[in-house]
Symmetry: C2
């Protein structure tokens, strides 16, 4: 199975730790993980795991759009903490058709959580995890675990 992990801009301190966490969880569930992000977010992930223990492929979030229609992912997991990230997630979901998709929407500000969740809900069939969080990763971790464990039961 193949999973695509979509990262947003790297301004949120919990994104890179949660990216590594998600790579590890998805690998345990049997997925080969590809991370799609901008170069800055990719650099942070690389520095975060200098020995490369948490195996994954990297692609550029813009360039990879051209290859999406022909790709064969079984899951798309998107980190959505800005409207640009919501837009990327929606674009990816649209181009990939009927792939199972999960949006992890998180923000310090609850009204932004609702706003981004609504954007995603209106344009995709994604499962949406909404978390009010900024630099404490635990609420993100707990909710992502729930969604992934459910996925495990479905597979």
């Amino acid at each position: 199975m193949k999973a695509l992990l979509l990262l947003g801009c790297p301004e949120v301190p919990s994104q890179t730790p949660m990216a590594i966490y998600a790579v590890d969880k998805l690998t345990e569930l049997g997925y080969d993980v590809t991370i799609s992000s901008n170069p800055a977010a990719a650099k942070l992930v690389k520095v975060s795991d200098p020995k490369g223990y948490y195996k994954h492929k990297n692609v550029n979030i813009d360039n990879f759009l051209d290859e999406l229609e022909d790709s064969d992912f079984d899951l798309i997991l998107g980190f959505v903490h800005k409207d640009s990230a919501a837009t990327y997630f929606i674009t990816y979901c649209t181009l990939m058709g009927n792939v199972k998709s999960i949006a992890l929407v998180f923000q310090r500000d609850e009204s932004l959580v609702e706003e981004y969740a609504e954007m995603v809900e209106q344009s995709t069939d994604a499962e949406i995890i909404k978390v009010k969080a900024f630099h404490n990763p635990n609420p993100l971790k707990v909710n992502l675990d729930k969604a992934l464990n459910q996925l495990k039961d479905e597979n």
Copy 2:
């Protein structure tokens, strides 16, 4: 040899990736690493390495102050990106006496880099690495590498 890695508040997206990077580098140089931080920063480091490949000990930045005078570290490396982090670094250096110390001062805003560097310079004998950086970890990485390689030559 023992190194103490001092983290600031976890608001800066490059801090956690750079913490893991520093643990790895210091371990390669033969140090046992202890990370001293607040609970939020410690949680991010933990999530960043769910399998615990990058071995280190964790201590609480406030509680550990009481034990510092009797501790036997050979190196203190502090991440300084807020004035509270500068204050902690100075306090730690003062309590630990003549231990070799390095402050990695980084901020998006150049005038803050200068301000925090000056705070550290006025109160410690630390080697100061100044970097204008926020979410691109590369300037941090390059400058930290330089300082650590120099340390290797000194040892």
